[in-house]
Symmetry: D2
Subunit: 388 residues, 4 copies
């Protein structure tokens, strides 16, 4: 009998992880962006690649867009393309860091003209959301300063609130704004939304449709991320995850690759706080496959999330609660670690097959011929990357 009980399977069946369109384009570091054969040249091709991940895993039914990188003339064509590939269009991500005007800020800028432009960009994004049927507008701000004294942090914080209010006012009834925080980069001295506390106070001042986005790579060394997950769920303000992993800074590696146990702890806290199978909490990847195959990298990533979710669901919550109440440190730890160390992969493979999915999605992709096909077909044109 499978170690995955019907209840666990039923929960896993509903798990959905949004893929970022930009994960299929080229990415790199400030030193070099390596190109790779088969890289998409436009949003349509990105969506086709994302759909492969979903076809082989059943885990990734939506694709997040990045504006302006994914701007198209005909949104219904893109929507139909997605539908024909079996996926939908998800979260819309704004970009206010690549226009020369934004060198010193966007939603926080001193200059009203530039701030207006940045706000308008978000209104455009909301328009796009109406076209794509997306619910969430995700805002990550690359704003900050590099030198102490360079800027008035306090005034920027106030302008940020004002800008967000203007954007928030344009949201449709069913739409949401999720505000991401980031510890540092690309600004090195101060970042305007550096931590969950700042994101929380900014969105709390907006209203119920504004939530916090937690990117797992955006914290100081040593931060207990699952504590923040717990707190945001407790406050009813965890809007979404950007999953990835890191050793040092915001490395944007495959989720679960750097510290699988941390991913387990995060997902355990999601379950504890009612964040799984909860429409309020969006699971999304935000990664860069600088040196590995991008489609395989995304498959590996959603499988990692699924495997760790399955482990976290196996925790004997009753035994855990009993040991916790008794302050039996090692007994509680044993219950907690037992689920982590249980190898759920065979049971998941079997279950996957029972649902008409490949037991080994990585192998299935390699056997599918898809990679060879896109490498052959996608010749010429400009490969997508962070600039397009």
């Amino acid at each position: 009998m499978s170690i995955l009980t019907p209840a666990v399977r039923s929960t896993l069946e509903k798990q959905a992880i949004e893929l970022p369109s930009w994960a299929f384009g080229n990415s790199g570091t400030r030193f070099k962006v390596f190109t790779t054969p088969g890289t998409p040249r436009d949003p349509f091709e990105k969506i086709s690649d994302a759909a492969q991940v979903n076809r082989l895993t059943g885990l990734a039914p939506a694709v997040a867009l990045h504006i302006p990188w994914d701007l198209v003339d005909d949104w219904s064509a893109l929507r139909e393309h997605a539908a024909s590939e079996g996926v939908t269009l998800g979260t819309v991500n704004s970009n206010t860091f690549q226009d020369d005007d934004y060198k010193f800020g966007a939603l926080t800028h001193e200059d009203d003209r530039i701030r207006r432009k940045a706000i308008d960009h978000h209104l455009t994004c909301i328009d796009v959301m109406h076209e794509t049927g997306s619910r969430d507008l995700k805002i990550w701000l690359a704003e900050g300063s590099n030198y102490p004294g360079q800027n008035d942090m306090r005034a920027r914080q106030d302008r940020l609130q004002d800008s967000l209010q203007q954007i928030y006012a344009h949201l449709g009834d069913e739409q949401r704004l999720v505000l991401e925080y980031k510890f540092f980069e690309p600004a090195f001295y101060h970042t305007d939304v550096p931590d969950w506390g700042t994101s929380y106070v900014q969105v709390a001042a907006l209203g119920d449709k504004a939530m916090v986005c937690l990117d797992t790579g955006h914290h100081a060394p040593g931060t207990n991320i699952e504590f923040i997950v717990m707190q945001l769920l407790r406050l009813g303000k965890l809007g979404s995850f950007d999953f990835n992993s890191r050793f040092y800074a915001d490395d944007d590696l495959i989720v679960g690759a750097a510290d699988p146990f941390q991913l387990y702890r995060i997902l355990s806290e999601v379950i504890r706080g009612g964040g799984l199978d909860n429409p309020d909490v969006v699971f999304m990847l935000d990664q860069c496959h600088n040196i590995e195959n991008k489609i395989l990298g995304q498959i590996r990533s959603v499988l990692n999330v699924q495997e760790m979710t399955a482990r976290a669901l196996l925790v004997d919550r009753e035994a855990l609660a009993a040991a916790q109440t008794a302050n039996d440190v090692l007994a509680a730890q044993a219950v907690y670690m037992d689920a982590f160390y249980t190898d759920v992969r065979p049971a998941l493979a079997e279950w996957r097959e029972g649902r008409g999915l490949p037991a080994d999605p990585m192998a299935a992709y390699l056997a599918s011929g898809y990679q060879a096909r896109i490498e052959a077909e996608r010749v010429g044109g400009v490969q997508a990357g962070w600039g397009a």
Copy 2:
């Protein structure tokens, strides 16, 4: 003519920094607590030592107490002793980490009996505050867990709020509760109040008399502390500072010793946000003089705060604002750094003398004979430390 304008002098004149009674007792690391001749044996002697710092610097008119370390039978005697030494009794600090009952928590404990005991300890502290005339009850919680799974962090957070509400309800009209946060230690996996965000949401749920305490040593590596100062002032929730400095963890070194420029940035943001000469924001030291002379260590500390405050007051705010508005990065930085690099020490020494204080308080202490006297007199008894 002095570089200290009348306005600057007038602001500096009002600067007051609370000294922690425990800084005059022995402290150390888990490896060793070194004792030193002349160390106080009781709260009366601690206050006498603290009064020396005030006498020589004019900067430290209040002494913070730690309960139960500073419990005395006769509070009016202690208050009169303080008065006779020219100082007052300040913030009362609770201690819920040294009783065997608190091994697994206090205000967050699963066991109602222990949680009740911890709450009652705080009510006792409030009683003490009525005796001492102290306004602030400062709560630092040593609570947390060492192993993932050991505890239910979410339930602890809820119990913490409940405990704080019970304490808050007992505050007098003029009294306040300030909640300190700490990144880690003594718990190593999770801490119940690890960051400013958690402290903020906990005190915001209590009411206007609850504020956040920012200890400069309690952050993750790389944290921009002055940003937090700015944010808490903006939110009207910065209740007090625990000043010290650190290279790695919570080293509790002399404030300004590890990174003087950071202290300057913090004080600049205090000034920018209206936190200087503001009764809502208490300046306090929280340090350990493990290997250096304790009284001299405290003198050095308050002088460091004064010197950096003076530098921060010298910033040409108009020129800075102009450069910031123009996004002239290097011009803004130049204005900001110019004040930091200005040597205010001669002007401060002269001004000090004009106020009947020694030009060089460190030298004055060494020349005073006080140290020799306490070393001769304080023989026998038990030296004060973190255990008493």
Copy 3:
């Protein structure tokens, strides 16, 4: 058939992990040391407790001593006691941080008298090693400074080399000196042996019998520890491990508890570099069970090392090498992770039983009645701790 091949089992059979005698005494943080019933009062009782760990796991045949904490009048009595309990006496650890003379240094001290005293302490340790039959003298130096300018770091480095040479000269032919490094604590500004590079250049200047000790908790945040393992094995200078785990600083938690995947990576690199089943490389624990049962904590620890070693031995080295050579990033990662995710616990339990050991050593300890016995018997006297 077991997933543990005969070759793997044969390797595992030889695995031996030294236990630190001090892990069975009380420990804590600077804030509080909690005592626990049943704690040993002397080295004999510590060894009895350590022997329990070995009896139930077959993994811990030697007990490391700490001098002067474990000084006894009659070494042959202690040796015989150990033998009667089925264990031997292992590494001798020196202590130059708890005498008042060592406040400002020991082997690096400016004062020749104090430096001589510290050197002599090590000569005493070598004498003890002759009595106990120990091969290794492990030196961890708590030396450093708290404030920039406090000391001349360069002169200290030279004095350290001189002191070590004097100690090295007294080693017997079969004896070794292992020098531990530590990033920080108890000194906060500078530590005299802060990193592997310093330990390496210090021991390389001594000779072949001097090696580096790597404590897994003694690195800066983000350090790739397995890289250092690789490098020291490559240089022939990895003398021993102090195993433990940490989230923030030198937390001294149960090895593998904070980041099991890191332990796996370290052990993988040990295997890759020929450090397993190699008499030159000593495996040892160095942990503090501040809040959990100490004997169970040690059992859990050696089992964690064994389990991760087993996983690391399962790596398909041929497939890994092929994928690495082909720079097939995700294929190499898959091979590497596959072994990590394999649940070796059932196979280990079975194998353990086949060797006459309990399948579940934790449960066996709880069922053994040993804990109740020591709690009943060890009443009165002074519980062992870091001070004794």
Copy 4:
């Protein structure tokens, strides 16, 4: 009378800081490279800009080159251009991270063809050095891996040594090889030369003409960099500095901007170890002026180094030694801090004027009209950046 004694002035007079040619080109983060009017289009223009810095400060007589970014057809023309501008060509920096072949390594690559290519690139650099009259070949390796298991770190280390030996063998008698280390980036899991220890053992195995390069931004959080300076000087292996500053990662900000006191401590240790006015130790900048004016950024940087050097030279070494010997912690710290807090800027300005240099080089640049001229003249063409 100036606080700068004749001896101090004489030392300062000899101070020389190499400027990196690439600091005058565009740089940025992975998110965006902002362009700026007046940016050089070729090595000739870069050298002209660098010469401005030298003209106004007298501190920067040499310009480091980066190959292939600074390749020219006619080296004697470049050399003559430099001479006509009053500067010389300095350290040659190799680049093995921007060719598609180097995606998985260069000097450590598994594939002999690629490794050969990378070695040959360095031999080309040595040829360039003969043309330019440069003494030093600086090697920074961007090599490493992103995922555990991706590569065999040990074999890479051995191949690195082999590659370096082949390069070392081609050095002329007066030439040197300096090997830079870096904690992380662009590789995120492991870096082949991550720390000073690795760089040291690699160059020590080569011979006397191989040295370590210390980039101040390439360390883990909390690292005591001046300790490493001390150690490398003690070992006779400190070949050069890459100066810059950072808050979080390798931010490449203006040296001294993030933590002026750290720069002071580093320079104090340089002086203590005989590294100032010592031809073996090259001072160089390696910075990115992403958002500020590049020429002004370089002027500010060399002035920061000069100012901190002057402060460090003011330390009363005799008083410091006396306090250190007496272990008078606060007295030693006071001596050390007194020099740091002394405002040397007026004295330096006066001295500068006495040498025919502008008192305020920043203002002089702004008044010179140079910026307007290059903005007007440098129209068209491709601005230099990290790709050219």
